[in-house]
């Protein structure tokens, strides 16, 4: 009998550089201040990266068709497309407009053959103090988007964001709740685990296991700096903070996740460094902190 999955003993003999290219993905956000899409793709090729997470503004700047050819020529696979949203609003016309735009984002993600498309609910509508309503509205919006995502064969990625971002980014804060939503929504929706947002959660291991292979769409890595100075622009390079990345990756592996480590670092510091240096250090650090 022939297996489609590679024999694990054989995998040990894959050259390190190839193993790395399979296991480290680069997120354009990490060098968004330094690079347009063409520069980003050039750096990926130079550093042996074959999987990327893209951002819509950078893709649209070049044009979706040209971006698609550029990626194909470079041999890059798109693991995730950022992003649908913000969605939350209390204005009915605006709600319709945002859903229409979300549908265009799904179509672009399909065109780029992205592994998933990220959903970004946004913050509480202006004047609202009702996070429970925002949560319910977010769930309903995702349910409305789901048929098109299913038709386009691009799963919607729910990404629990850190509770410190609950007011202005997303009311979905834990993998546990994302799992509850997935239970209710059925196929076509899954979960991206970003270590930065969920590393503190005592229920994380159990909820990653609960999500399992079919539901886990991505694994994003950076680090939590012990003395964090800003809520959104002070993430750390892997190894510079307090997250036990190796253990979190092991939980993903144990749940059946086989995707890469998507390096996503929002940081004024790393945005101020040469992109080539950021790539080099990120690949080194991924190797030190995440690979077995």
């Amino acid at each position: 009998m022939f297996h489609i999955l590679p024999d694990r003993s054989a995998a040990r003999e894959i050259p390190v550089s190839l193993t790395l290219s399979m296991q480290v993905a680069m997120n354009h956000a990490t060098v968004r201040e330094q690079c347009d899409l063409e520069q980003f793709v050039g750096l990926c090729v130079r550093h042996g990266i074959t999987q990327v997470a893209l951002w819509r503004d950078k893709v649209v700047e070049l044009g979706v068709g040209r971006a698609k050819r550029l990626l194909a020529d470079a041999g890059l696979t798109v693991i995730g497309y950022n992003r649908i949203g913000p969605l939350l609003t209390n204005d009915a016309a605006e709600r319709r407009a945002r859903l229409d735009e979300a549908n265009r984002v799904i179509e672009e993600a399909a065109e780029l053959r992205s592994g998933c498309v990220f959903v970004f609910p946004g913050g509480l509508p202006a004047g609202s103090k009702d996070i429970r309503a925002a949560r319910a509205q977010t769930f309903d919006l995702i349910a409305e988007l789901l048929p098109l995502a299913r038709a386009a064969r691009v799963p919607l990625a729910l990404e629990p964001l850190h509770p410190m971002l609950a007011a202005d980014r997303s009311p979905l804060s834990t993998v546990r709740e994302a799992n509850d939503w997935c239970d209710r929504l059925g196929c076509g929706v899954g979960i991206v685990v970003d270590v930065y947002h969920v590393w503190w959660d005592a229920t994380l291991q159990a909820e990653i296991q609960r999500a399992g292979r079919d539901r886990l769409l991505g694994f994003q890595v950076c680090d939590w700096l012990a003395t964090t100075k800003h809520l959104t622009r002070d993430r750390g390079m892997m190894g510079d903070g307090v997250i036990d990345l190796h253990t979190l990756r092991a939980w993903m592996d144990a749940a059946g996740f086989v995707g890469p480590n998507d390096v996503e670092i929002f940081s004024d510091y790393w945005w101020s460094r040469p992109a080539d240096e950021v790539f080099r250090i990120a690949v080194e650090r991924a190797k030190e902190t995440l690979l077995r």
Copy 2:
């Protein structure tokens, strides 16, 4: 049959000023930069506040005995004493020293007849990336302190802190986990709900209900500013942020909690204002956002 609890219809006739003094407690932290303990007590008397939460550094500065007489003369009740900790360390001798100091804090809290004493685990020990170990160590430390707290008849207050403080303040982040710990620890330990730390949690209502009257030791109020600029020094005055304070208080009421709203605002802005103004605005805002 006579009831010990006051008749609710009669309570409506209590003058507003007296109702306020029963329902608003002031935490010295809110004006810690402006006032020593004597100044703080003077402001409480002037503003009709009869319940206070105190901080050890301010009490020790005056002396515990003098503080006790000062509070008694002013007719003030101590609802909570800050604090035991930080406790976490990987050094055995240091661990013993911190437990000894914690025992002295419990004795001081008993001397002041405080309603509870806060436990503050502290951050991950230097060099550690193991939040699970820190969590287990915290639990063990609390279990070690519990016999003395029981003997002194001062309950230990577990206070879940915001997940953004998991690295450097406390690995206990949710009321759910605090409830799990209380289940295992038995009597002599309870939970303080600070809205700032837990407002985002989708399980909050259920976990407050689960905690119930016997376990709920306090309710701390301030607000989460939509554009928070600092992780520890940018809390908002009640009404200036996005927390639905009225609903959270209603959940506490429904669970049987009868204590006051303890105003605890860590804020560079409010620390820069005259203490008398802070008191006046805090009492007004508590009335607007919390009282029925």
